[in-house]
Symmetry: C2
Subunit: 207 residues, 2 copies
Amino acid sequence: MKKNIPPATIRRLPIYLQTLRELYLRGVRIISSAELGDILEITPEQLRKDLTFFGNFGRKGIGYNVEELSESIEKILGLKNQWRVAIVGAGHLGTALANYEIFPELGFETVAIFDIDERVIGSEINGVKVYDFEKINSVAKRKNFDIGIVAVPPENVREVCDALVDAEVKGIWNFAPVKPEVPPEIIVVNENLSVGLGALSFRLAQQ
Amino acid sequence: MKKNIPPATIRRLPIYLQTLRELYLRGVRIISSAELGDILEITPEQLRKDLTFFGNFGRKGIGYNVEELSESIEKILGLKNQWRVAIVGAGHLGTALANYEIFPELGFETVAIFDIDERVIGSEINGVKVYDFEKINSVAKRKNFDIGIVAVPPENVREVCDALVDAEVKGIWNFAPVKPEVPPEIIVVNENLSVGLGALSFRLAQQ
């Protein structure tokens, strides 16, 4: 069943989850699709359609149970799995990602950071040690990470991805503006920052 | 016409553009939708459908003219406009964004960076001066930026967006995990990094 879920729906789920959690912290226990759609700036129809891919949430005339819905989305997204993450590249981007508060809240634990710069190797970023990239294989055996985040310049992407594959990661989240080539069983998500800027430019140009 | 273009299509356009430019640099002048779809990892049908929103590109049995198609996408995305950008927040994320090579290539020129930290005010990042955030209004008058990038902690988003609105930006690109409240005429694109991580987690959990 899951295979036919539109990618756009998958992209919206983490946003739904974040909003539901904020609502829960503010004491909201039940919310209608109209109210929730309003906060999320999407139509209630779209919201209901997205959620029907995963089962029957909410009750007619009452609304969604905020806690139940949050937990269901967490489960759907695999966020109950407590993924172990390694960040490759301790530059500004890697450091920003290591400090990003939302990741641990979503169930991603950064267990190692790698760099080639001797000035940062051995230091800690947000409590996580920076290791020598050359030693990624032995560190991987001890730290046992599932996901590699690639935060290196484009010219180093190939070498870094090869090393992550050798280190037996299951998934790669790539921030460099080049597509890594990896075996098909490795799941790659490319984060392309120019997409957001392109969307903004498009909307500005329409005005 | 442009108003009915699906957001998913808009999101794909910057990726098409980047790929077309790379192809052009590698000497490719004509490409079929099958070949281009293959590189982009989307179906030729989807690609053709996306491009029909903007007119008739390509010729049956021949393919797309790489240069013409690049230029058309640039125009569609408003990238010929040479947007002037200010980054608020000279921390790791702001610094990473100021150094991101793709932005100037897409037609975005960073003209000012703002921070509140006296240790960085007056310094330069990638050739762009860091100004005191308190002076954003007077700097805006001289530097005349259209877009503000918000790279500050969540608790400062409201203050920063208010200042950007006062400085008469047309658009805001927000990296903080809270939604800014701004007047409706200001275009906001929220960059939510947990979306990519959520998508990766979802696909890993399905395996």
